[in-house]
């Protein structure tokens, strides 16, 4: 990050300072990497409840009689399946099948959608959607600057969120609803990035501090703690979620990212479909593959993965997994289709550490009911 870049602050900045959050520059946003301890925050989310400031995420509203046509055109997933009150995870492919961004699309009403996009890609995404909106009766409105976003994650999240939004526990997984909070129109989805049950509030900047502090104060009896980006990254990697910019980008396709379930080739035309269809037919030459260390040690970003003694790729995300008590990582290996349990090694500090390929997600929460 260049020194000339102006650092941006979320509406919750003062709260993070008061809570002694350790603030870092994350893609130009000043956000807490942790408050007390990544391990403790991770543990709180796996067993109780954690609160995350994700206000750096972007909110792009797509509205109009042809809003659905636009979203179908720019998404690999089938947005037409979305009924009002439901959300869906999707990839926006480019013409070559690479990933412009990974997003969550909520259908608020017929002809009215909310797309939550990544912070670093927000301008790119909005421009991309506007480009393909030409000739369609649809409006792309990037409202990211007006909203804060707060994630409440963990097995106790429903009980905690119910303190502010009594209708929350009845919301299904990937449900989305509009509600009024402190007199302000707001949004609540049952989504997250941790592999636990959870919710995400999207609220106007003006009410963000009240929502945050109420959730924290009232949630204390459920063991709710504020959590930083450090815990968020460990939780999402354990759960097998992609981090855009690291595990997914314009150069790697959804199939290569091992997210083929997102691509609905039978839904009709969309950008990138010919490239993706061809790739599905021919098979991928590289595949995002999970790796787990069999010895003590912590794999790091950029570590080489050796298969049969030859470098097959590098880890693009890696960490110590508190849930597995082992080092884990994912990397694009030029050996797609290696069965889980294939012995590999990971190079750390110039030495080879024994490891094996594993099926992602690394961790499946017992708190999430199957199919929920």
């Amino acid at each position: 990050m260049s020194a000339s870049t102006t650092i941006r602050r979320t509406p919750l900045h003062e709260s993070h300072v008061q809570l002694h959050g350790k603030l870092v520059d994350f893609h130009g946003w000043e956000l807490p990497v942790q408050y007390e301890s990544i391990i403790k925050e991770h543990e709180a989310v796996r067993h109780r409840c954690g609160l995350f400031d994700v206000s750096h995420m972007g909110q792009v509203f797509v509205t109009g009689p042809q809003a659905l046509d636009l979203l179908q055109k720019v998404n690999a997933n089938d947005i037409a399946r979305l009924k009002p009150g439901k959300a869906i995870y999707s990839h926006m492919p480019n013409e070559a099948g690479g990933i412009v961004d990974d997003v969550i699309v909520s259908c608020l009403a017929e002809g009215r959608y909310l797309v939550v996009v990544n912070a670093a890609t927000r301008e790119k995404d909005a421009a991309w959607m506007r480009r393909w909106a030409a000739g369609l009766d649809a409006v792309v409105d990037d409202r990211s600057d007006a909203y804060g976003m707060i994630a409440v994650q963990g097995p106790k999240a429903a009980e905690v969120v119910a303190l502010l939004a009594p209708q929350a526990p009845a919301l299904p997984r990937f449900g989305a609803l509009e509600l009024e909070l402190f007199g302000q129109p707001s949004f609540l989805t049952r989504t997250g990035y941790t592999g636990e049950d959870g919710f995400e509030f999207i609220v106007p900047n003006e009410t963000a501090v009240r929502v945050w502090s109420d959730l924290l104060t009232m949630g204390r009896s459920f063991g709710t703690v504020p959590c930083g980006l450090g815990a968020r990254d460990v939780l999402r990697l354990e759960a097998g979620y992609l981090l855009y910019g690291q595990d997914a980008d314009d150069e790697h396709s959804t199939y290569e990212a091992n997210y083929g379930w997102v691509v609905k080739l039978d839904k009709g035309d969309f950008i990138g479909k010919p490239a993706l269809a061809a790739q599905k037919k021919a098979g991928v030459r590289r595949l995002l593959t999970g790796v787990r260390l069999l010895s003590r040690g912590v794999p790091r970003l950029g570590a080489a993965v050796l298969v049969e003694g030859r470098e097959a790729g590098q880890l693009c995300s890696a960490t110590f997994s508190p849930s597995l008590q082992a080092g884990i990582g994912v990397g694009y290996l030029d050996r797609p289709g290696l069965p889980a349990g294939t012995p590999v090694s990971v190079v750390l500090h110039g030495r080879e550490f024994p490891a094996e390929t594993v099926k992602v997600p690394f961790y499946l929460s017992p708190n999430l009911k199957k199919g929920a």
Binding site: I38, I39, G230, G297, V298, R300, F320
Partner: protein
């Protein structure tokens, strides 16, 4: 627990307690707070010869790996296996059970170049002022 006032420090945040020519080495409370959540420690081999300021040990947290530099030249004569089994000891007891290794000093006068607690705290204050880590 050792008395932090009785220890010598170097700028890279290791402390050493020198007696009878053997230095016990660990990392400061400040360092463990900066590193946070130690999950893995790779200790030097007993019998290895190290030079002062040579990296000989790795302390890893969830987020990053940190090299640990020996404050004194000499031979590694003991390592703390307890921190291999329970790495969080480095966080819980930086001046006690979280020690890392013992070095038999080949040049004990090197300790004279190290900082006492007062100077180390001044060093921390100037680091904070310059925002360097």
């Amino acid at each position: 627990m050792l008395d932090p006032k009785a220890l010598k420090y170097q700028t890279s945040h290791e402390w050493v307690s020198l007696s009878d020519g053997v230095g016990v080495v660990g990392i400061s409370d400040h360092a463990q707070k900066e590193i946070t959540d130690v999950v893995f420690v790779e200790l030097p081999k007993v019998g290895r010869t190290v030079k002062a300021a040579e990296a000989c040990c790795v302390v890893e947290s969830v987020k990053a790996a940190f090299d640990i530099y020996s404050p004194l030249s000499g031979e590694i004569v003991a390592v703390n296996e307890a921190v291999v089994k329970d790495p969080a000891l480095v966080n819980r007891e930086p001046f006690g059970g979280g020690w890392l290794f013992k070095v038999k000093a080949s040049a004990p006068n090197e300790a004279a170049a190290l900082m006492d607690l007062k100077h180390y705290e001044e060093h921390l204050a100037s680091e904070a002022a310059h925002g360097s880590h």
